[in-house]
């Protein structure tokens, strides 16, 4: 087992290296519009140096005068020491900005994820046990509608009904106008209030896939022989489903839930942007739009690490949870 884990981790590191390299090459191959526009702006000042001179100076100060491969290794050297450079847009170290905003994303993602679990698993189980019934159709169709809903459209609808027409929530932002004047509880409720719509959006849009996953796996289990045996023994249907079937369904569920835990840190790019929630997704979106290379590099590498970690965790959990799958 340990050997397997070590092997997987080493492989992940190699993959990460190449992912970072590919991203770096892509970022560098794009026209450095940020530096260009900055040089353009600086060169237009009174008595300023020419555009080319500014270009050269800025490129040098941002480390863009190196070739792509040496540049990558310089970046990698810094990154390994936890130094991802200064964000161009926010003018602070990337990691500092990251620490400021990651918790909002994590809290938002975490609450949404817990709600998803609470909604998806029971509904998935019910749909599977009543296969082809009306309930099943409604749940399956509902899950598919959730998957098919464009986030931006659904978020806008929510805004229209709950913010504009009912006036329950603010249209955007994490804090209200008089946030500074509130006491600690008031501030907490204010933030909670602002997070309701984004979390509802996240839950509705992503609950469907987990629900379908639960249903499919539950169906698979219900068709297996040991369930038939359990029924043949004359166990009550309740016991068959919740003791024998559901426990076995938990195997794939735990795997996928464990695998998606790192994803809680990745932030919801679209939802955060729509609601102007200053989480990692929104902050990176703003940075990426102006071509902020250090921040984008950091964010994409971070996402790649999360993906790899998710895969690793779900593989390990699979082996841990299910004794039948022990890879030598």
């Amino acid at each position: 087992m340990r050997k397997f884990i070590i092997k997987r981790i080493l492989l992940s590191i190699v993959i990460l290296f190449f992912v970072a390299f590919v991203i770096y090459v892509l970022m560098r191959s794009l026209p450095a519009s940020f530096v260009e526009s900055m040089a353009m702006q600086l060169s237009q000042g009174a008595g300023a140096k020419s555009f080319d001179e500014w270009m050269a100076q800025l490129n040098a100060s941002y480390g863009l005068d190196q070739g792509i491969v040496p540049g990558f290794f310089t970046w990698l050297g810094g990154a390994l020491q936890g130094n991802f450079g200064d964000s161009w847009k926010y003018a602070v170290p990337v990691t500092q900005k990251f620490q400021e905003v990651i918790w909002v994303s994590f809290i938002m993602g975490g609450i949404a994820f817990i709600l998803e679990l609470i909604i998806a698993i029971p509904l998935g189980v019910i749909a599977a046990t009543k296969q082809y019934s009306r309930t099943d159709y409604v749940i399956t169709a509902g899950a598919l509608v959730g998957i098919s809903l464009p986030t931006f459209f659904f978020a806008t609808l929510l805004k229209l009904f709950f913010s504009v027409q009912l006036g329950w929530f603010d249209l955007a932002g994490l804090v209200g106008r008089d946030f500074k004047n509130l006491d600690a509880w008031g501030q907490f409720w204010d933030m909670a209030n602002h997070l309701v719509l984004p979390i509802v959006t996240l839950v509705i849009v992503s609950v469907g896939s987990l629900m379908r996953y639960t249903r499919t796996n539950m169906l698979e289990v219900l068709n297996s022989d040991y369930i038939r045996t359990a029924r043949a023994k004359g166990l009550s249907e309740r016991k068959v489903i919740y003791h024998h079937a559901f426990r076995n369904t938990l195997i794939p569920l735990v795997t996928i839930v464990g695998g998606s835990l790192p994803g809680l840190f990745s932030g919801a790019l679209i939802t955060e942007t729509l609601f102007s929630i200053p989480g990692i997704g929104y902050v990176s979106y703003e940075a990426m739009r102006i071509g902020d290379i250090p921040f984008s590099m950091f964010y994409m590498t971070f996402l790649a690490i999360l993906t790899l970690a998710g895969n690793l965790i779900s593989d390990i959990l699979y082996a841990v949870v299910d004794p039948r799958v022990r890879i030598a």
């Binding site: 993959i15 519009s33 098919s148 931006f152 739009r289 071509g291 984008s296 964010y299 994409m300 993906t307």
Partner: protein, 534 residues
């Protein structure tokens, strides 16, 4: 519960039995014979696997609903554009009454400077003059030259140096009459002197002038100039403000009227609205004029069923063309992904060994590249380069396709790994069929069912991704329509709250299409599954 299940399980077998001679316990000889007859009606009705799939698919209600939804959207998008009487970017105009600023009026509170003929009275001197006035001095020195101020009247000074007058400063303004000549400097000084001191007549160069209450400077009966503190500026090109208009306006301003009527030279009476702007201490006079504009956000009507959008384009037609763009992009992207996925997955699965290892590691790398951020960055840099919208669309398809092939490759490889161990593959090897044929003629067709399911599902998600990008303004760009960039208008919250017809239909189209693909994909997955008992 259990009985229901059994019933379900039994259903297909019953059906199959219907074709066969059902076990008939009758010992009638004729029937006995019939049992062994070879007539068509006695034969076992064999259904091909394809027919079975179709049957199973059609029995799934959701899938059929999805299929209908898709058909509707296809007809809407591809035929709709042909049937619609309007073009994709045809704009509609309308006449609308708009309040346009006709003139702006400022009551002069600053000194206005006029240099005497042939003299210099530049801004430095003007500033020095102001300082001196504020300190209530009667002379100032600049660069060793002393300038003398003479207070000629209320808010009216002349500036001279060494006995020569170089200019004047006053808050009242001397204007030339509409059809008169420019007012000479001397006349200005003389007129202002008289005006500011409350005199009604003055003499200049032997000519007598009179001043009336309205500030007219008259020589005999002809108006040579007029004095006023209001500065009236035309805000429209090519409109000269007549003297008469100014006077009427000033009267209205003095009585604080909100509206004033003026009969122009054409004999028509126009109504103007006067608006006081506190921040600049000025008035603007607004005139209602009929303007020919894009019919932005026109409500739905019989000629435009879903109204018009921001640029005055027919919403319904935009939706049709948008659907075409979204669907075509979806298909091309999925085609690229499927093609690359089949080729690499097929090679990888068939050869195994280091080839497999290499390709799978490439797949791993691609799998880890976060696609959404990457596309956003590329989109933003295409914005910066101002790529042509058509070429941009092409890039978008290539990028999306290139980022989504790894999952197809994994699927194909996984299937092929198990398939290549089966006997029919040994048979192809024994027959000496060449490798490419073995892979693409014998292995890949066996993967097709799963591939179709994946492709159908990913069509839906690709359309969603494209719409999201277009919504963010990084995908399909104007003048091309796409459902995403139609909804883009809601970024303006006024549009969101007031013009539902601009964005709700596009969102519903998007939802229906993606839902259709998902229903059909789901139905196909069930239908292809041989374990399905239904």
């Amino acid at each position: 519960m259990r009985e229901e299940k059994n019933e379900l399980k039994n259903r297909p077998s019953q059906e199959e039995n219907q074709g066969k001679n059902a076990v008939n316990t009758s010992d009638d000889a004729v029937q006995e014979n019939n049992q062994f007859s070879l007539n068509d009606d006695r034969r076992v009705k064999v259904l091909s696997p394809g027919t079975l799939v179709v049957k199973r698919f059609l029995r799934n209600r959701l899938a059929v609903v999805g299929l209908v939804m898709l058909l509707c959207m296809f007809v809407f998008s591809f035929l709709g554009g042909l049937l619609s009487p309007y073009g994709e970017d045809e704009q509609f105009y309308t006449y609308t009454n708009m309040e346009k600023e006709y003139v702006g009026v400022v009551q002069n509170k600053d000194f206005r400077y006029v240099a005497a003929d042939g003299q210099e009275f530049g801004s430095v001197l003007q500033a020095q003059f102001l300082l001196a006035v504020n300190k209530q001095e009667d002379s100032f020195t600049y660069k060793d030259v002393t300038y003398d101020l003479t207070k000629e009247g209320e808010d009216f000074y002349t500036i001279s140096t060494g006995g020569v007058q170089i200019g004047m400063a006053s808050k009242d303004i001397v204007n030339a009459p509409d059809d008169g000549d420019a007012v000479s400097y001397d006349l200005r000084v003389a007129a202002l002197k008289a005006y500011t001191n409350g005199e009604t007549s003055f003499t200049l160069n032997g000519t007598d002038y009179t001043l009336d209450d309205e500030g007219n400077v008259m020589q005999g009966d002809t108006v040579m100039a007029y004095i006023s503190r209001f500065v009236v500026q035309s805000k429209e090109n090519g409109v000269a403000i007549t003297r008469n208009f100014k006077e009427e306006l000033e009267k209205a301003l003095e009585t604080d009227d909100e509206e004033f009527k003026y009969t122009g030279e054409d004999g028509e009476e126009h109504v103007y609205r006067i608006e006081y702007k506190a921040d600049t201490d000025s008035w603007s006079v607004l005139q209602e004029t009929e303007t020919y504009v894009y019919d932005s956000y026109a409500e739905p009507s019989s000629s435009h069923w879903l109204g018009l959008d921001k640029n005055g384009m027919d919403m319904m037609t935009r939706l049709m063309y948008g659907g075409r763009v979204s669907l075509i992009i979806g298909f091309i992207v999925v085609f690229i992904a499927a093609f690359l996925g089949i080729v690499f997955g097929g090679i990888s699965g068939y050869f195994g060994g280091w080839v497999d290892n290499l390709i799978m590691r490439i797949v791993d790398v691609f799998y880890c590249i976060p696609s959404m951020p990457l596309i956003i960055i590329i989109g933003a840099s295409m914005d910066a380069m101002q790529v042509d919208p058509q070429i941009r669309m092409l890039y978008l398809m290539l990028i999306l396709g290139f980022l989504s092939w790894p999952s197809v490759a994994r699927l194909v490889r996984g299937q092929i790994l198990s398939l290549r161990e089966q006997e029919f593959m040994t048979a192809t090897e024994a027959c000496g069929i060449r490798v490419s044929r073995r892979i693409f003629r014998h292995l890949i067709p066996n993967v097709i069912p799963q591939l179709i399911v994946t492709c159908t599902m990913s069509l839906g998600s690709t359309i969603l991704t494209e719409a999201t990008l277009s919504f963010l303004g990084l995908g399909v760009k104007f003048p091309f329509a796409s459902w995403g960039n139609i909804i883009n208008d809601v970024n303006n919250s006024f549009v969101m709250t007031n013009y539902w017809f601009v964005w709700i239909p596009a969102g519903i189209c998007l939802l229906i299409t993606v839902l259709g693909f998902n229903f059909v994909g789901d139905g196909l997955r069930d239908a292809f599954d041989p374990k399905m008992k239904r």
